[in-house]
Symmetry: C2
Subunit: 230 residues, 2 copies
DNA sequence: CATTGTGAAGCGTTTCACAGCC
DNA sequence: GGCTGTGAAACGCTTCACAATG
């Protein structure tokens, strides 16, 4: 029951939804619910039930026909699949507005990603304290990554410094990067980058607004990779 | 050449990439480049050339065979398609860490989304100034939305208040919402919601890290909706 | 003759529909 | 009887490959 060596490959689209399910299931567990059906979970996640069942089936057959899924067990399995059975300390590069907000936002630590360090280049920022962390110099990055076993770096620098930040992270040994700068990063093979561009999100909304204004006015758009129209 | 009444429907996946192209093209224009091929643009955007051509073909036939695309004209067309021929003021609900960072981050205004207002419930925050904006009371939301013609709201509140924030935004007349709270929002039909959950992004990275650790170690994962492995 | 624009093939994701099982 | 698990159909997106063309 525990630990197949080579796990099934889970489709990316499913991987992107598992955290959502996990959040909902953890909330349900806390609220004292201990069984849930694919219908119930689908409702809470804003997706359809067949999708929930398909998604969960990639983890294994953890439900009971005629009954549903045991919440606690699903939580355990999803955690395991996502690699959340231990914490992943992250290091934040850039202690400006966004870096400070990220460091100060408790939600990261709560969900398994404690801030293991925050670095910057600006002497005015170094040694200030944000989110309970002393800001350190970029040069300390390798030491921080080594000592805290950091695998994930977060880039919260201005665009112009983002590529350099990525280079530093990679050299320090980080293998996954969450990039908030609106720049396409070049990284060596084997390093995973995800990009979150807030302006892009707004521009996608703008597209739909504009469509509503010019055309039918009741043309409710379908949800994209991450959007929803309920 | 200008203003077909009912535009082609553009696939969501393409809509999500147009802002990226736009950014790159605007940068190129500024750098004095005035022609670009699908290959060149693809390179800069980190995608393949066929995709660029297909994407651009949804806008119309704006290239020249054997030559390429005129940068300035493409910029103009993408802007128009995304509804970026005018600004979209946004209103931010929640003046905590994230709300302050968003308000203080100049990038929004620069890219066509000036902060038209920021509201909160906490008396300690009201009348403080963040990002050049005086924080106002949630009750002022309808007035702000009306006077500034705000169509897009940004939710930067704690999870517990997010649904209420959405309700206030919708009642005030906002029709698009960018939600940073890790909660599924219920909104009436005709309102578009996009969700950005930072912890979800990290969990997706964690999945790939974990896979690398358990399995092959050289199983470079394909890019998901928004990730990349270069 | 380099490069676009695009049918058609390939592939991944979603949804359907129902057999299997508690 | 109710709900899961899953083949198969349907759909949308990506990539190929090449005819069209300035």
């Amino acid at each position: 029951m525990a630990g197949q060596r080579t796990r099934r490959r889970i489709p990316e689209a499913t991987v992107a939804r598992l955290p959502e399910y996990l959040k909902i299931l953890a909330d349900q567990a806390e609220a004292g619910v201990d069984r849930i059906s694919s219908d119930g979970l689908a409702e809470l996640a804003g997706v359809n039930a067949a999708k929930v069942r398909k998604d969960l089936s990639y983890l294994g057959s953890y439900g009971t026909r005629g009954v549903g899924y045991e919440v606690a067990y699903l939580v355990y399995q999803i955690r395991r699949e996502l690699g959340l059975d231990h914490d992943w300390p992250v290091v934040i590069v850039g202690a400006g507005n966004l870096g400070q907000a990220l460091a100060g936002y408790g939600g990261f630590g709560e969900r398994g990603f404690p801030v293991g360090g925050i670095v910057d280049l600006d002497p005015a920022k170094i040694d200030t304290v944000v989110g309970g962390q002393r800001v350190r110099h970029l040069d300390d990055l390798p030491a921080i990554v080594q000592s805290r076993q950091v695998a994930i770096g977060v880039i919260a620098t201005p665009s112009a410094s983002a590529q350099s930040a990525a280079d530093h992270l990679v050299r320090a040994g980080v293998t996954s990067i969450l990039n908030f700068a609106p720049v396409v990063l070049a990284v060596p093979p084997g390093v995973t980058v995800r990009k979150v561009d807030l302006a892009v999100e707004l521009q996608i909304l703008s597209y739909h607004e504009q469509r509503r204004a010019t055309n039918g006015l009741r043309a409710v758009p379908a949800d994209g990779a991450r959007g929803a129209t309920a």
